[in-house]
Amino acid sequence: MEILKYDYPSAKSPISKKVHVGVVGSGDLEILLEPSKDGLAHVVISTSVNGYGQVWQDVIDRFFSKFDGAAAIEINDFGATPGMVALRLQQAVEKLK
């Protein structure tokens, strides 16, 4: 298991609610997204697969290139593909609307 943390200080748009998507099943993940306490975006990932920090960085970077919410994002991952991660992130954003 690995814990990864990423911060996005330029993501500052206020978030209005908490959303949850997903399940920590094989090849899947859950995402808890809520307003960040300090007005900047933070991501904490617990993942069952070690050594993919760069891949996670790329996926999250890409997500924040289109999303600018000041969100505290918690991800609990059980071996999801980058595509699955992106999908769940997108589902979370949909639920924010």
Partner: protein, 289 residues
């Protein structure tokens, strides 16, 4: 209706049915309640998760794999307790089990104050979570106690849909319920087929022989021998209707786990020297006897 009209209607029904099995635990719970909605209690943002998994480098799920959804059934307050089988096989750890036991205990306490809540348990569990072993086993005993204490006040309705089924200590819990609804795809057994093969050898049970397994412990068989009450299709509307009907049938004065003399008589008639024949068993033990 003509034969053609009937078969068209049946096909239409099949194609438009909403699969219960394909839904996650939250979706299943919502489909049982009026309006397909409810309020989640002890949800993921409460962050009451397993205290035991992280130390073993296992990723947690924030609700520990049990969803409590409060809503109504036929207008009456209800709580659906839904086990998420995708997380750790729906296994019972300290927290997931506590959510079930605590809910049933609270419903009983509320009942004594004149407030009724209808409990539904969606059983999709392999039993004890080995990574929490003794705390999982202990909380299952508490679940048993809570079901028996509650069921002579309010019916406790259980559903097993599959594909994980209901095994281990939770198979006892399901058997203690007032009513048990199963799909054909569901299984109800105490020991997983792999464990039996491991403990007793492949001759005793070949865990890869799916049709054998389902013939012994599948939903159709269990209902046919009276160890579950209602056989349903994998159809969310049908399952919700079966749950509603169960509550309408009311408290069961002699639940099957209390019908001791009846089952002892059945067991005494059975000759273990004969090959196990589940179809013959249906005739001998048929539901309703």
């Amino acid at each position: 209706m003509s034969i053609n009209q009937q078969s068209y209607a049946a096909t239409e029904k099949f194609l438009t049915r909403k699969s219960f099995i394909e839904m996650d635990a939250l979706g299943r719970a919502a489909s049982i309640l009026d309006g397909g909605k409810g309020r989640v209690l002890l949800g993921p943002f409460d962050r009451i998760h397993s205290p035991w998994l992280a130390m073993q480098e296992i990723v947690i799920q924030e609700d520990d794999g049990v969803i409590l959804l409060k809503g109504t059934i036929d207008g009456k307050p209800a709580l659906v307790i839904s086990i998420e089988s995708a997380f750790q096989g729906g296994s019972m750890g300290e927290v997931s089990g506590a959510k079930i036991a605590a809910s049933l205990e609270l419903i009983l306490a509320e009942h004594t104050k004149g407030r009724e809540t209808r409990p539904v348990i969606l059983f999709e569990s392999g039993g004890v979570r080995l990574q929490e072993a003794n705390l999982g086993l202990a909380v299952i005993a508490e679940i048993h106690s809570a079901i028996v204490a509650l069921r002579n006040k309010i019916p406790v309705v259980g559903v097993i849909a599959g594909m994980v089924g209901c095994f281990g200590g939770m198979s006892l819990a399901a058997s203690l319920c007032s009513y048990l609804i199963m799909t054909r795809q569901a299984r109800l057994g105490m020991n997983g087929p792999e464990v039996i093969e491991q403990e007793a050898g492949i001759e005793e049970l070949d865990s890869s022989d799916r049709s054998l397994i389902w013939s012994l412990i599948g939903g159709e068989q269990r209902v046919a021998i009276g160890q579950a009450d209602v056989l349903v299709e994998d159809d969310a509307d049908e399952i919700a209707a079966a749950v509603r009907r169960s509550f309408n049938n009311g408290v069961v004065s002699q639940p099957r786990s209390a019908r001791v003399d009846e089952y002892l008589a059945k067991l005494n008639e059975y000759d273990p020297a004969r090959a196990a024949d589940p179809i013959a068993l249906r005739a001998a033990w048929k539901k309703g006897d």
